[in-house]
């Protein structure tokens, strides 16, 4: 589950198709938007950066004694290259992994691209811009915002997967369980992602600050400012975010299992099994029965959906505006 290269058949066909259409639309539009950055035919640059992301995903870093993790890089790519080029580059990586390395299902490409490229790049970039407002205008502010946004971008991707599971589950595992487990696990993975991404951006800022898209608004003096003043802000911000997520997640992770079982029995899966063939999914089976569970499920789904859409939308909007202003400058 860590790298989220879902195989074929993990979600029902209709959801896979809808995801594929959305992914093609966003990446296709992105190719046009990114043309302002790729317009002087800097395709070799994008290709070599894609190779870098692929390579970065291959190398493990230690997490705790013995266990290791690896970078996902969606948010890092967006901060370094901008959300449009970043999402395209990571989408190419996902495509190559499926087509050439048989890693990730071909019919799962739609939701794999959404979860690994689009949501981390645009959602993560939106969070990055948000955090930048609270951090000082300095190199350390950018590093702090990168760390927090990258950490949360992994959680966003997990939430996006849970949402897709809600609509197209291939097995009657309730949304609450999947959401709790996915978001909980990825909160831990996010810590490593944030740590590595933040320090990596710090290293790029030290040698080639002009290569960091997300720090393009800083002048020379601000870029040289690496005072650890923001460390306190960073710790407080990080702690607050963690507490917020912990509170939200624990709500669903420790949900009463008896209630869920009762709903499942009430519903009677033998009757609904036939409908499953073309996938109405768990959403139809669960959220329409059992009042308590319905309220929770729908509330979580609604809130997650609204938050995800708002973040991805905000990232799209800002990416659009910045791409436009860049063309205007040229």
């Amino acid at each position: 589950m860590l790298a989220m290269h879902a195989p074929d058949g993990f979600l029902e066909a209709p959801v896979a198709i809808v995801c594929a259409v959305i992914a093609v639309a966003i990446i296709g539009y992105g190719l046009r938007m990114a043309s302002s950055q790729l317009d002087d035919n800097r395709i070799p640059l994008a290709g070599i950066t894609a190779a870098f992301i692929f390579a970065a995903q291959m190398f493990n870093f230690p997490v705790a004694s013995g266990t290791t993790g690896h970078l996902l890089g969606g948010c890092l790519a967006a901060i370094l290259l901008g959300p449009w080029v970043g999402s395209i580059v990571v989408a190419v990586v996902v495509l190559v992994q499926a087509l050439v390395f048989a890693d990730g299902g071909l019919s799962a490409l739609g939701y794999n691209v959404i979860n690994m490229a689009i949501v981390p790049a645009f959602g993560g970039f939106a969070l990055f811009l948000l955090f930048r407002k609270f951090f000082p205008r300095s190199a350390s502010g950018v590093i702090g915002a990168t760390a927090l946004a990258s950490a949360l971008s992994v959680v966003l991707a997990a939430a996006a997967f849970s949402l897709q599971w809600l609509f197209g589950a291939s097995a009657p595992v309730p949304f609450d369980t999947v959401f709790g487990a996915m978001v909980g696990v990825h909160l831990l993975i996010g810590i490593g992602e944030g740590f590595i991404s933040g320090l990596a951006v710090g290293a790029v800022l030290a040698s080639r600050p002009d290569l960091v898209f997300g720090a393009a608004d800083l002048d020379r003096k601000e870029l040289a400012d690496r005072t650890p003043v923001s460390a306190r802000t960073f710790v407080i911000g990080g702690a607050l975010t963690a507490v917020f997520f912990a509170v939200v997640v624990s709500q669903f992770a420790f949900d009463d299992p008896d209630g869920l079982e009762r709903v499942a029995e009430d519903q009677g899966f033998i009757d609904s099994a036939r409908d499953h063939a073309f996938g109405s999914g768990v959403f139809a089976d669960y959220a329409t029965s059992g009042i308590g569970n319905e309220t929770i499920s729908l509330a979580v789904a609604g809130l997650t959906g609204v938050a995800l859409c708002a973040l991805v939308g905000y990232g799209l909007f800002r990416g659009l505006r910045e791409a436009r202003s860049r063309t205007a400058q040229v």
Partner: protein
């Protein structure tokens, strides 16, 4: 999960499967995988037919069971999740080996297992019999966006180089007694990744300038215009057509 498989999966050969035009193979594999993905979980017969198709193709492409099994390992993390499903899913329960598990959950496990293994097998047939350059050619003949294909081809050209450079960096760090056990000791790895990004980007800039000075206008020249023959299309269509027929039969029977 995606670690350690950067080696080219292509196995040279001259079998029928190897010789098919890449665009034909791409379309056939996609069609087959989609047919498998929409097959209802209860039509076990359809899955058996699909499995037979895959096994025949493995034999035709001369792919041994050891190669296939080691390459199927990429699905293991998801399969481990699938195995958990009967225990956490709801619904009527069945006794399996004295343990009571969810019936619908068992079907869920079966569904994910069957589709993941069949879909990955189809991808393995494609990747083991088609060189990367051919896959890219196939994509461009199928009119995939030129920018995407170009980015993919540059990615491939420089992938091994960058992976090797990263590996050398890690060896140099290990040689200097860097042996991190905990995340907070991993700072050199992170800054190394940042340095690698700068190096990769600067290499990209140099490559781009070198290409421009040699007359690069933004599009790569197309070197071949061979297109697949009707016979190739017909031959490759067999596998997905069998899968689609078994899918329709599966719908009719369930």
């Amino acid at each position: 999960m995606s670690s350690g498989h950067h080696h080219n999966l292509f196995i040279p050969g001259s079998t029928v499967v190897h010789r098919l035009a890449p665009e034909v193979k791409l379309v056939a594999v996609f069609a087959f995988v989609i047919a498998v993905a929409v097959t209802p979980r209860r039509s076990i017969g359809s899955f058996a037919v699909d499995a037979a198709v895959v096994v025949v193709l493995f034999a035709l492409a001369r792919l041994g069971p050891r190669t296939v099994l080691s390459r199927l390992a990429v699905v293991v993390p998801f399969v481990s999740f699938a195995v958990l499903i009967p225990f956490i899913a709801g619904g009527p329960e069945t006794e399996v080996l004295g343990v009571s598990v969810s019936t619908e959950g068992l079907w869920g496990t079966w569904n994910i297992l069957a589709k993941a293994v069949l879909g990955t097998s189809a991808s393995i047939i494609l990747t083991s019999t088609t060189p990367v350059a051919e896959i890219l050619k196939g994509l461009s003949r199928l009119r995939a966006p030129a920018i995407i294909v170009a980015i993919m081809s540059f990615m491939f050209r420089y992938l091994d180089l960058i992976v090797d450079e990263m590996r050398r960096m890690r060896i140099a760090m290990t040689a200097r007694a860097h042996d991190p056990r905990w995340l907070w000791q991993a700072k050199p790895i992170a800054t190394g990744a940042g340095a690698m990004f700068v190096r990769s980007y600067e290499r990209g800039e140099r490559v781009h300038q070198a290409m421009q000075s040699r007359g690069f206008t933004g599009t790569m020249p197309r070197l071949d215009t061979r297109s697949a023959s009707m016979r190739e299309w017909c031959a490759a269509a067999i596998a997905p057509i069998v899968a689609i027929i078994s899918l329709i039969a599966g719908f009719a029977l369930t």
